[in-house]
């Protein structure tokens, strides 16, 4: 069953210089438990699409369904994780993790129990009473993921969540994310501009092109996990994706 389904989705923004077409004719579906990466260079509309799926904005064309229901604002079935983590600086880690449940009027004792569960799972128990600015970038993003998971979302929307992290932390969080995903079997829509990251994580990669933002191809990644970036198949996939991502460059190299 397709859990997230975009059909003919378009988004046009009004700007002072006239209308800007951010997305055109997007058809994208993710089945239940599927890990889909939205891969593209900056400005190709992949983050915009994620915001539409999160229900933060409405598409100007087409329709988006989550769990079979047409979106009208944010859905209870999704949670979003942002690149700049979006933690509230005046709340402790604990309070931050509880926020999404609080927003859904969960009673405070239930919130505390669930938050403690997630804090343990993400290895954050020791920093529960700290403020976000006291944590490292990797820890902050763990808090962001913990917060997103508290409401048991059936789809996790991630907008370049590891984009601002150093390579080691990034690698570790990618592995942790896969573990969580394998354990919880949520659908994941993961925006990234890193080919390596996409090939490492995804079941399927949707490749975006800019002006207007559209999907120019979909590549299934049928490598067994855990994946080794050093293998020839991994490298071959990267090469193929690079060609899809920047066709002009490749064309120029050929001629």
């Amino acid at each position: 069953m397709q859990f997230v389904e975009c059909r003919g989705v378009g988004k046009i923004y009004a700007s002072k210089a006239g209308p800007v077409e951010a997305l055109r004719g997007i058809d994208l579906a993710a089945s239940e438990g599927e890990f889909v990466c939205l891969l593209g260079l900056s400005g190709c509309g992949k983050s915009t699409l994620l915001q539409l799926i999160a229900g933060l904005e409405a598409p100007t064309a087409g329709s988006i369904r989550v769990g079979g229901i047409e979106l009208d604002g944010p859905s209870d079935e999704t949670s979003i994780v942002f690149q700049d983590h979006g933690l509230f600086p005046w709340m402790t880690v604990e309070r931050n993790v509880e926020f999404n449940m609080k927003a859904r009027n969960a009673p405070s004792d239930a919130r505390a129990v669930r938050a403690a569960e997630l804090l343990t799972m993400m290895g954050l128990t020791g920093v529960a009473t700290r403020y976000p600015h006291e944590l490292s970038g990797g820890m902050r993003q763990r808090v962001g993921i913990a917060r997103a998971l508290t409401t048991r979302p059936r789809a996790l929307l991630m907008d370049e969540p590891f984009g601002a992290l150093d390579a080691q932390t990034r690698g570790r969080l990618q592995e942790e994310l896969l573990q969580i995903w394998e354990h919880q079997r949520t659908t994941v829509l993961f925006v990234t501009h890193s080919i390596d990251e996409a090939v490492f994580l995804a079941d399927r990669i949707a490749v975006f092109s800019p002006q207007p933002g559209r999907i120019t191809g979909t590549v299934p990644i049928e490598l067994p996990r855990p994946r080794d970036p050093e293998t020839p198949r991994f490298t071959a996939l990267k090469k193929e994706l690079r060609r899809m991502l920047v066709p002009d460059l490749h064309g120029a190299a050929l001629s």
């Binding site: 944010p74 949670s79 979006g86 509230f88 709340m91 926020f99």
Partner: protein
Amino acid sequence: MPSRVFGLLPLLALLVLWQAVSWAQIYPTVLLPTPAKVAAAFITEYPDIFRNAAASITRVIVGVSLAFCFAVPLGLLIGRYQILDVLADWSIQIFRSVPPISLIPMALLFFGIGDKPAIVLIFLAATWPLLINTIFGVRSIERTLIKVARAARASEQLIFRDIILPSAMPAVFTGLRLAIGGGWLTVVTAEMIAVKSGLGYMILNAQLTFRSELIVAGIVVIGAIGLIADQGVRALRARVCRWQEGLTAEAE
């Protein structure tokens, strides 16, 4: 950080200079009293100074509190809803440019001599910095944070209480500091004209009776209260906005 005691150095230097000028007798003592004479005035006129200071402080507390209750909620709403901002912006810019002191004649006509005109003027002086800073505080909130809340389907009420209010708090405190400063300036001026008590009234009265030591004593008290009030607000801010510790490059 260097010890706060350093802050006393310029004040001591000023005291020494004052004493030196008094000894040199550049000005007659009727104009410039010696420090000793002012100190004596503090002792002999203590009840009078205390009573007038209490009157001034009470007016400022009442005026600023009223302004706080009015301006902060209004600022939160204006900051959050663009339609209210468009509605209010020009009016705010016009009225905040009017010095409260220029409204004294009007206040006298409407409220006569007494507490009322003074409190109204303090209220006006305190409202603008509180309102403008609160609006600014709401505006400068990180957009991602609002998105997080909306994606989590937080109610507008929760967004106000848990996100907009705490995030605007540091700016509200900046507004409060300015409001108390402005209120304090206004009260002293207003008391010279519109009221028959308070430090402003005391100073003006001392001038009429050639008691310059009481004028200086009054000025010292006005300055000291200003310092204490500001320190108090800072301490309160540090408590309320504890999460900010270490976020800003330096404590303000």
